[in-house]
């Protein structure tokens, strides 16, 4: 144990003392917050991303004059007579485009002349404004007056989901659960990859620099491997704790900013979100922040830490085995594939797990240790039976004990074997080779 501690202390200190660790640790959350801040800002405030477009309407029918509603990105002008030639008007005015409306057999036809191919958003925005005018006109013709029309426009639906529990009902929160689930899953995926690869690189360094030869006589291979894995895990944990702290501090101002934007322009948001076939309506995204409180956060956090550590141990051991089997990093490709594939697969499949968190596919994927750290994170916020959580944790523990054993067997031989890259058959033989 003392040796493992010495080794992990070295792994931890050499990494944490590096300048790049400090820089990455401080910079990453800033970058993440900035990154998402920008995405949120632009998706809620489309007009910043798009230039304001002016469109001259040449309306033969006179049905639309002064009736088309301006949006944040488009404004309609009616300062030209309908008889003008659209091309001449466009060239002379130098604006974005000219919308000409002609009547053919009493039915209006529309054409937009512009100097560039208009984007889908622009087109559908114009179309929806035109449709609105035509629909209003039809309704008025059927005797519905303008006041009623306004009331119709004001109708909005927002479903509050409730979950049936033994104690009664509980507020549902699909939006938050989805986000929390994805966030947890992605973090675990990210950490396993980032630090798993560090384990592998560390092993290759020791092997390539013949450091192993110096220390293996006083340290058992298993101690060396476990020391490395735990040391790097602690680095990851340190980094994670700092990040959580920083993100919490920094995301305060950012979410206020986002909420302000949402409040300021509900209509634009509705329009743009509708155009994008958005996942969330703005009303819902506002409630995201309220819903956070209704989740079982201690359970989620506890489970996160468990799957974070066990998932990392599970994969970290495999990465160590790969590192020990090869002489340099270029040779790792072949052995990395079977390790990275299930990880990438879990992230890819998590979308369908979210759509149906309690399907049998979701259930089984959260039992298999290869995918359970990621899949369980996605499922947990939706609430799953305690028995499944326990079963999954048990599988995970068995899983990492198994991979640590497996990796240890390969490691002890691989770390002192130089030259030709081993085949899978040889690796298999190493497993059962007597020391």
């Amino acid at each position: 144990m003392h040796k493992i501690w010495l080794i992990s202390k070295r792994e931890y200190l050499t990494r944490v003392k590096k300048k790049s660790f400090l820089v990455m640790t401080l910079l990453s959350p800033l970058l993440i917050v900035l990154f998402y801040g920008i995405i949120f800002y632009f998706s809620f405030n489309k007009d910043l991303a798009e230039k304001k477009k002016e469109i001259i309407v040449l309306d033969q029918s006179q049905l639309f004059v002064n009736k088309l509603q301006d949006t944040k990105t488009i404004s309609f002008l009616y300062n030209h007579d309908a008889s003008h030639d659209p091309k001449a008007v466009l060239n002379e005015s130098g604006i974005y485009g000219v919308l000409s409306i002609q009547l053919q057999n009493g039915i209006p036809t529309f054409s937009l002349l512009a100097n560039e191919q208009p984007g889908l958003n622009t087109l559908s925005a114009i179309e929806s404004k035109l449709e609105k005018v035509l629909k209003d006109k039809k309704m008025q013709e059927k005797g519905i007056d303008e006041k009623i029309l306004q009331e119709i426009d004001a109708v909005k639906v927002n479903i509050n989901t409730l979950k049936n529990t033994s104690e009664g009902t509980e507020d549902g929160n699909s939006g938050v659960t989805t986000i929390i689930g994805f966030l947890g899953a992605f973090l675990i995926y990210f950490f396993i990859f980032l630090y798993g690869v560090q384990v592998m690189k560390g092993v290759i360094e020791e092997k390539a620099n013949r450091i192993v030869e110096v220390i293996i006589s006083s340290v058992k291979p298993f101690q060396l491997m476990m020391g490395k894995i735990t040391g790097i895990a602690l680095v990851g944990f340190t980094q994670f704790v700092i990040w959580v702290a920083l993100v919490t501090i920094l995301s305060g101002p950012v979410s206020t900013l986002v909420m302000n934007l949402v409040d300021a322009s509900p209509e634009t948001v509705t329009a743009t979100m509708a155009n994008n076939q958005g996942v969330q309506t703005p009303d819902k995204s506002l409630s995201l922040f309220k819903d956070l409180g209704s989740l079982n956060l201690p359970l989620l956090l506890g489970m996160f830490v468990f799957y974070f550590i066990s998932g990392y141990l599970f994969y970290g051991a495999l990465f160590a085995a790969v590192g020990s089997a090869v002489d340099n990093e270029t040779d790792t490709q072949q052995f990395m594939m079977p390790i990275t594939l299930p990880l990438v697969f879990s992230i890819a499949i998590s979308q369908s797990v979210i759509n149906d968190p309690n399907s049998s596919l979701s259930m089984w994927l959260s039992m298999i240790p290869f995918s359970s750290p990621v899949i369980m994170m996605v499922r947990l916020p939706f609430g799953i039976p305690t028995i499944e959580i326990i079963a999954s944790m048990a599988c995970m523990i068995v899983g990492f004990v198994a991979t640590v054993w497996f990796a240890g067997r390969i490691y002890r031989i691989g770390i002192l074997t130089y030259g030709k890259k081993p085949t899978y058959k040889e690796l298999f033989k190493w497993l059962f080779l007597k020391n």
């Binding site: 010495l6 050499t14 620099n209 110096v214 002192l416 020391n435």
Partner: protein
């Protein structure tokens, strides 16, 4: 005897690295393990340091079967550098010392001595990758001996050293020997250890060719060759001796003679003095380790020895 090896065999997938090797290393002496590249020296060392296990055979350390506890009484300097490139010299030395079982405080204490000896105080904060090859070698050497092992195994210790540092290392090795340590040297540069080693073993193609005390071996392989340096007319062959080689540089002749039959040195000197030459030096030319090695290998393979 600190190490006794009996009938050691080791095979890798497609070749035998060690064939029936038996040898022993005397306590407190410097032992040279000599042989060309690929002869099996490193395989043997790896068994001694328990990096690998022999297929058959016995290794005893201080009369006990070699086991894990003996590892703390050994220090091993591998042929290729085994240091963390991104770690500072100080952290690195401390880490290795602690892995070898020293407590933090004792490790620091012992390192102080070596830091002084090699005068590396100014280098302590530097990363290993910033050091020259020779400096790295010094660090590696300190890491090898800091826990004061009874047996110090040095695999090609002089590679990467300039003559000044090599001399420094020789002095340290001799001092370690004075303090009672046993040193096992492994090298393919046979001449480099002739002066240092008390005993040697020659290994070729996985087999031991010969072993024993250095001076005894050299006497065993003496060829009755004498080297004469002189000025004047070149010596000609006569009944007393044959001439093996002759060269002349800036008026000074160097001739290697081989005596015919049992003659005393005095007889030859008298004979030489009777010639019209100015004698500069005269001495027996013992074969170099390299020559002995070639001779021994050829003897072993049953061929007669032809002097080149």
């Amino acid at each position: 005897m600190i190490i006794e090896i009996e009938n050691l065999n080791k095979s890798y997938q497609n070749h035998q690295a060690l064939k029936n090797i038996s040898l022993s290393i005397e306590k407190g002496k410097i032992f040279g393990l000599l042989g060309p590249n690929g002869a099996g020296k490193t395989s043997l060392i790896r068994i001694l340091t328990r990096i690998t296990q022999a297929d058959s055979g016995v290794v005893r350390f201080n009369k006990e079967l070699l086991s894990e506890k003996h590892m703390y009484s050994m220090g091993y300097l591998p042929e290729e550098r085994g240091l963390y490139k991104k770690m500072t010299v100080k952290d690195q030395l401390l880490y290795f010392a602690e892995l070898k079982g020293l407590s933090n405080a004792i490790a620091k204490e012992k390192l102080k001595y070596w830091i002084d000896q090699f005068d590396i105080k100014t280098w302590l904060g530097k990363k290993v990758e910033e050091l020259s090859k020779g400096m790295q070698q010094k660090i590696q050497f300190i890491a090898t001996v800091v826990h004061e092992p009874d047996l110090i195994i040095l695999d090609e210790p002089f590679s990467g050293f300039d003559p000044v540092n090599a001399q420094m290392l020789v002095e340290q090795i001799l001092r370690l020997k004075e303090n009672g340590a046993t040193i096992l040297f492994s090298t393919h540069r046979m001449d480099s250890v002739e002066l240092l080693c008390d005993n040697i073993a020659l290994i070729n193609h996985s087999e031991k060719v010969l072993d024993g005390e250095v001076n005894e071996i050299r006497r065993r392989f003496r060829t009755n060759h004498f080297e004469v340096k002189y000025q004047g007319a070149p010596i000609l062959e006569e009944s007393l001796f044959k001439i093996i080689s002759h060269e002349e540089k800036q008026g000074i002749h160097k001739t290697i003679l081989q005596l015919e039959g049992p003659h005393k040195n005095n007889e030859i000197i008298q004979n030489l003095l009777s010639k019209n030459i100015q004698l500069i030096s005269f001495g027996e030319s013992l074969p170099s380790m390299e020559e002995i090695f070639i001779h021994a290998v050829q003897q072993k393979s049953g061929e007669s020895f032809n002097h080149a």
